[in-house]
Amino acid sequence: MELRLDDITVVYRRRGVETRAVWGVSLRARRGETLALVGESGSGKTTMAKVAAGLQKATTGAVSWQGPATGPAGQRVQMVFQHPVQSLNPLWRVDRSVREPLRRAGVPQREATRRVTEMTGRVGLDPALLDRYPGELSGGQAQRVAIARALVGGPEIVILDEPTASLDQTVRARILALLADLQSSTGAGYLLISHDISTVRRLATRIAVMYRGRIVETGPASMILDAPRHPYTSALIAAVPVADPRVPWEGRRARAAPESPCPAGGQCEEHGQGLHAVGTDHLVACTSATIH
């Protein structure tokens, strides 16, 4: 199935003050592939994740499913969070956390036990850890538990919200490899929320770059990473320090991000007219970006 978010706008109201977090953003998350939503703090990417997960209501716009269902409704979207230990109930043993989605779906006890055992093995978790509490796990172990919990019910889409941001680099590499393996074996779709380009490079099939509540560029991962067309995308990618001292780093010259998603400062005619195609499945917010 495909999860569609169409023309989503989210306005937060607090003490009579309105803040527009997302402006008319459309996304499609499909089974078997990873859509990465990248952007900096305040870009609206986490708000979009919450809308996709049903944790935040869109002010305007529609969330819908397309295509034949492969699993029960209500279990179609699962989420893996940034802080693995905190995302688990501290009073529940690991077994109960992993089992919970199955209990809610009404899976019989014996079948649930079989699936919990199987999923524990697939995420590379020592079965002895099923009797532990989250506080007794390392960050990497807890994230494996959270991934098992997300996948055990056979979801269509898993939202990964900065899934490795709080993990050490060697642990991070193993979790990313695990996520890639599990996607090919289960066929789940991922909506990956990240500000870390190296994580995105490892997992993404398609990328949508968000800036100040709007998508400024979207397309196949290789196009966005290797031939970005929007100046903000270029700045974001160039700013990532390359783990090789022999590679000159252009990010050193990175300047403050532009005030407007339009490189012409909103003065050009195209700005505000949505995304423009610059290649196959490759869209950019403003065509004057191509002057760059």
């Binding site: 050490d168 680099q169 060697t170 320090p241 390359v242 783990a243 022999r246 050193r252 990175a254 403050a256």
Partner: protein, 262 residues
């Protein structure tokens, strides 16, 4: 010329547990030396111990440190205040949330220099770290500024004392990448123009590769390798260095087989 020389530094935790063993490095003037490792490797405690800032329950059991030829750390204890300052991972939390930036700078400058024309000096300091509107920033509270702006303020405060050594503990972790690039550039320019040395603690191999001249790789409380940045990334000797490089997607690293490196 050698600016900082540390030798035989060991740190013990509660119950006499050895957290850091026999740490030794040196930093030249105008040089950035990285300390890289994962959580629990002891890199942050090592940095804190060099300024006598260890939390209670943790103590430096042994170790000598010289700064500018003067021994200031003996048997793990600070003998005299070194000309060194420190910046931290979360700048917004490191600043006083109840005071405007200007008031915090005033307090620092009046303490350091006993001067009452602190305002001109504060503006010049903020200007030197790339803050375009020093007056506007001085009238704000830390929560009204971005993380990147607060880290610039922290760097300005750290430089106010004219240190010879700056210790930077994960100074860009948690900042957006474009802001990180600007802060790293500021640190690099500061090293060049002021000739200070920097001890740069990080877990990020990309940041280390692009910022440091030499690198100490820490694992389980020990320095596993200390070498020039090019050697670390292209001719690593320690197994653990190769594991870190592999995790960072660097070809010199071996393929990680999932077992912990030793």
């Amino acid at each position: 010329m050698t600016l900082l020389a540390v030798d035989g530094l060991s740190i013990d935790g509660p119950g006499g547990r050895h957290i850091v063993r026999d740490f030794a490095i040196d930093v030249e003037e105008g040089e950035v030396v990285g300390v890289v490792g994962e959580s629990g490797s002891g890199k942050t405690l090592t940095a804190l111990s060099l300024l006598g800032l260890l939390p209670s329950g943790v103590r430096a059991a042994s170790g000598e440190a010289h700064l500018g030829g003067v021994r200031y750390l003996h048997k793990g204890r600070i003998q005299e205040r070194p000309h060194a300052t420190m910046i931290f991972q979360n700048p917004t939390a490191a600043l006083n949330p109840t005071m405007r930036i200007g008031a915090q700078l005033k307090r620092l400058l009046v303490f350091l220099e006993k001067r009452h024309d602190w305002r001109t000096r504060a503006e010049a300091l903020l200007d030197s770290v790339g803050i375009d509107e020093p007056r506007a920033v001085m009238s704000r509270y830390p929560h009204q500024l971005s993380g990147g702006m607060n880290q610039r303020v922290m760097i300005a405060m750290a430089l106010a004392a004219e240190p010879r050594l700056l210790i930077a503990d994960e100074p860009t972790t948690g900042l957006d990448v474009t802001v990180q690039a600007q802060i790293l550039d500021l640190i690099r320019v500061t090293v060049t123009t002021r000739g200070i040395g920097v001890l740069f603690v990080s877990h990020d191999m990309g940041v280390i590769a692009q910022t440091c001249h030499r690198v100490a790789v820490m694992y389980d409380g020990e320095v596993r390798e200390f070498a020039g940045v090019d050697e670390i990334f292209h001719a690593p000797r320690a197994d653990y260095t190769r594991t870190l490089l592999a995790a960072a997607g660097q070809p010199s690293g071996r393929v990680d087989d999932g077992t912990p490196a030793r």
